[in-house]
């Protein structure tokens, strides 16, 4: 095996990998792209570009490894390099604020909200979705990877090119921000903690 991890797949093998290992993830890929760009056309372009790149660089994909993580990594990088600039809703990203959060990987696990599991379960899809979309892109991304797509911390570290400790702390902060938003919704729905009407 050469040091440069390149395979020589035959035409048939490439087709088999592409159809058998890459295409089945298209729903997840599109969902991820849409939640990054908030725009159907941009999401479509992003997914198409990602699949083109995946095909072009298929020799660097090692069969038997996690194709979905590999594809998500390409999509995330394409988004950063090409789409973030022209994304129609980039204003939700407040980098100063986000960066200030990243100064340390230390996380204090506290009970940050008095949100109840019952009120979360009663929420509508739109509320959950809006709360997720309201997060800055880096926080939104870790929630998508962890909770929607169920990647492990290790896979997330590879997809995002960050250390595992940073994955954990970023995820924890993202969830706290999400809970704050959900708490606001819960209160407006009349699910304040000790205010159950008789």
């Amino acid at each position: 095996m050469s040091e440069v991890q390149r395979r020589k797949y035959s035409q048939e093998e490439r087709t088999a990998i592409f159809d058998g290992e890459f295409m089945p993830h298209i729903d997840s890929m599109y969902n991820f792209a849409f939640r990054l760009t908030f725009d159907e056309d941009d999401a479509k372009d992003l997914v198409q570009d990602t699949y083109m790149k995946a095909f072009r660089f298929i020799q660097s994909f090692e069969q038997g490894t996690n194709a979905k993580a590999w594809l998500f990594r390409i999509l995330k990088n394409s988004f950063i390099n090409e789409y973030r600039k022209k994304s129609k809703k980039p204003a939700t990203v407040d980098y100063q604020e986000v960066e200030a959060f990243y100064n340390s990987d230390d996380v204090d696990y506290q009970s940050t909200s008095d949100l109840r599991a019952e009120s979360v379960k009663d929420m509508l899809g739109d509320e959950i979705s809006n709360a997720l979309n309201a997060l800055a892109v880096d926080f939104r991304t870790v929630i998508i990877l962890a909770d929607l797509e169920e990647f492990s911390y290790e896979e997330m570290a590879k997809i995002l090119d960050i250390p595992i400790g940073t994955v954990r702390s970023r995820l924890h902060r993202a969830r706290n921000l999400l809970k704050d938003t959900l708490k606001g919704y819960a209160q407006s729905m009349g699910y304040g903690r000790d205010e159950e009407e008789d």
Binding site: M23, Y30, K44, Q48, R116, V120, L124, G125, I128
Partner: protein, 108 residues
């Protein structure tokens, strides 16, 4: 309309009293957690599917004995569930898969 609220109220009270009964039967769920930071970190890692040595036993112990851990676990679990069930259904545009296959075909 008032009926609907009554029903919901009853449902919530029922849930709540079931929880209280549950507490009463185990009899000894602490109301304060002595190490929230460490416990919540552990609970969240377990929910994220990360292997934690002795995790299952510890989890059971926390859920049986500690009210803040019990509540935190169920809240975190509920959030993960709603995200998974309600945010993954973005419908794929017609013909996207087809056009990708076509592009690959042309690129060969």
């Amino acid at each position: 309309m008032p009926n609907r609220w009554d029903t919901a109220g009853t449902k919530r009270r029922t849930k709540r009293s079931a929880m209280e009964n549950n507490n009463a039967s185990s009899g000894e769920r602490k109301l304060q957690c002595s190490d929230v930071s460490k416990c919540f970190e552990l609970l969240e890692h377990i929910l994220d599917g990360e292997l934690v040595e002795g995790g299952n036993e510890m989890l059971q112990e926390k859920l049986d004995r500690c009210q803040p851990c019990f509540e935190h676990f169920h809240l975190e679990q509920a959030i993960r569930e709603v995200l998974k069930t309600k945010c993954t259904k973005q419908p794929l545009p017609d013909k996207l898969a087809e056009s990708i296959r076509q592009m690959i075909q042309d690129a060969r």
